[in-house]
């Protein structure tokens, strides 16, 4: 699907982007947007093994991932690259995940990036903080792979839908 609204017929059927990142979506000949076009997922954890496992898992779904090993690195990447989703650990040395959420919320460029907290910190305070900071999902380690992929798909679908709506708003005439 083109980013340029002029490339599309006004009445072209607009498919639901309900399963971005699935292997099926990336198959040659499938008219759906190639999985790589669903954007980049920033995977943040101070534990390199955890980052590696998550990146490999998302890679099996043809999603583009960017690793980051701390809060500051996450912020640097989110400020400088187009990111569609952040998988964020909470307990990290230096800037923790909740502090990262607060920083991301301050800036126009990063404010609307959906965040999935992936954390072993399952306590009441962390969950309430996640809710108040407006994160999109809260997943507890050890993460169930199927659930993680479902949540990632949901958030990426919403991002694709937002882009499609921007195109619709753009092409709707103001009378």
């Amino acid at each position: 699907m083109s980013e340029n609204p002029s490339d599309e017929s006004k009445n072209a059927p607009r498919r639901r982007a309900r399963d971005p990142g699935t292997a099926a979506a990336a198959k040659p000949g499938n008219p759906r947007r190639p999985a790589a076009d669903f954007g980049s997922v920033l995977v943040v954890d101070d534990n390199r093994d955890a980052v590696d496992i998550l990146c490999r898992l998302l890679g099996t779904q043809h999603l583009h991932t960017i690793p980051a090993y701390g809060g500051s690195e996450c912020l640097d990447i989110a400020r400088s690259q187009p990111i569609d989703l952040i998988l964020l650990d909470v307990s990290m040395p230096g800037m923790d995940g909740l502090a990262v959420c607060r920083e991301l919320a301050k800036e126009e460029r990063t404010r609307s990036i959906p965040i999935i907290l992936v954390t072993a910190r399952d306590d009441h305070e962390t969950r309430v903080a996640g809710m108040r900071l407006g994160v999109s999902e809260f997943l507890t380690k050890p993460v169930n792979r199927a659930e993680l992929l479902e949540r990632v798909r949901g958030q990426l679908s919403a991002r694709v839908l937002a882009r499609e709506m921007d195109e619709t708003i753009e092409r709707t005439p103001q009378e």
Partner: protein, 337 residues
């Protein structure tokens, strides 16, 4: 029998609530599309607020002074639906004792909202296509066509494109309907709006509560936030209404939430551990699960072991023994909230 509903005053001030980027975009699109006369196709799961979007478009449009008529195509038998939409002449069929106006006459100058449009039969799809193309229709049993001046907004909780692919919905009608597509996301994909919606419905329900307002405490609120809401905003509204009506005191706590929500949230936090190739330490996994339950019970009971044991369905002595056993490894301090 009243098979369709007119817009009444109770509906005129209801808007789609939310601050999620998708809701802000829908609001922007509603304003823009309201100024046009374009046909709109609203899609989304049940309970997401499709009719609310249609009503908002109508309310902001130049047709706002005209009628808004909503009809659920899935709730009416196919043979009746044609007559409801287009009206009939006297004697058109058995039981047609008089002439009856259909929606396309009643809604003249206003808006027709066709919900569950995918349920419409193929012959009726042809008639609807004619209305959209020619702006005219023929009542059942009549030999003359009538002009109509209505805006059509359709909605479907099914993926209409898939229905076209399966041959169940006319492709030409699909194109005619979705001149402007609006997709309302499920609530789980805009979870950050849940606290805002809780407050909105709480305020609405509290206004009708003679005993005074109730509040939702943090734990109950976070559990509502974590729930997936398969019935979407409608389900959330119903749950808040139920909680407010049944509230004993002035605070709704996690214990007051419906068991289905509590079970779902508990399942999220105690996921079934996946068995890796190397297997896993069964005793450690069970111990970790016990620890979680004990910590939560102690937190809720403010550290009172008797109350915590009651919450866990254990004798106090059993709980104390478990705490002692953990003193070496995890330590009682770690288990105390």
């Amino acid at each position: 029998m009243l098979l369709f509903r007119r817009l009444d005053s109770a509906h005129t001030h209801r808007n789609l609530i939310g601050q999620h980027p998708l809701i802000l975009r829908i609001q922007a699109l509603i304003k823009k599309v309201a100024a046009t006369d374009a046909t709109v196709l609203i899609s989304g799961e049940s309970g997401t607020g499709k009719e609310l979007v249609a009503r908002q478009i109508h309310s902001l449009s130049p047709r706002a002074a005209g009628p808004f008529i909503a009809l659920n195509c899935g709730a009416i038998p196919a043979e009746l639906l044609e007559s409801e939409l287009f009206g009939h002449e006297r004697g058109a069929f058995t039981g047609a004792v008089g002439t009856r106006h259909g929606m396309f006459q009643v809604a003249s100058g206003g808006t027709i909202f066709l919900d569950e449009v995918a349920e419409m039969s193929p012959p009726l799809q042809v008639k609807l296509l004619r209305v959209l193309q020619e702006r005219e229709f023929r009542p059942v049993g009549s030999d003359r066509s009538m002009k109509t001046d209505v805006r059509v907004i359709a909605a479907s909780n099914k993926e209409l494109f898939d229905e076209v692919s399966k041959g169940r919905f006319r492709e030409d009608l699909f194109y005619r309907l979705q001149v402007i597509p609006i997709r309302v996301p499920p609530l789980r994909d805009r979870r950050s709006d849940v606290p805002l919606l809780i407050d909105h419905f709480l305020e609405k329900m509290n206004a009708r509560r003679p005993q005074g307002p109730v509040r939702v405490n943090d734990e109950a609120r976070v559990q509502l936030w974590e729930y997936d809401w398969p019935g979407n905003v409608r389900e959330l509204e119903n749950v808040i209404e139920q909680l407010v009506v049944l509230a004993d005191g002035d605070t709704i706590e996690a214990e007051n939430l419906p068991p289905s929500i509590r079970r779902f949230v508990a399942g999220k936090h105690n996921p079934t551990p996946a068995l890796s190739d190397e297997g896993f330490d069964f005793n450690r996994a069970v111990e970790a699960f016990e620890n979680q339950l004990i910590v939560e019970a102690l937190r809720r009971s403010g550290g009172n072991k008797q109350a915590a044991a009651r919450l866990l369905g254990l004798k106090r002595t059993t709980l104390v023994a478990k705490l002692r056993r953990r003193r070496g490894g995890n330590g009682v301090e770690e288990l105390t909230p």
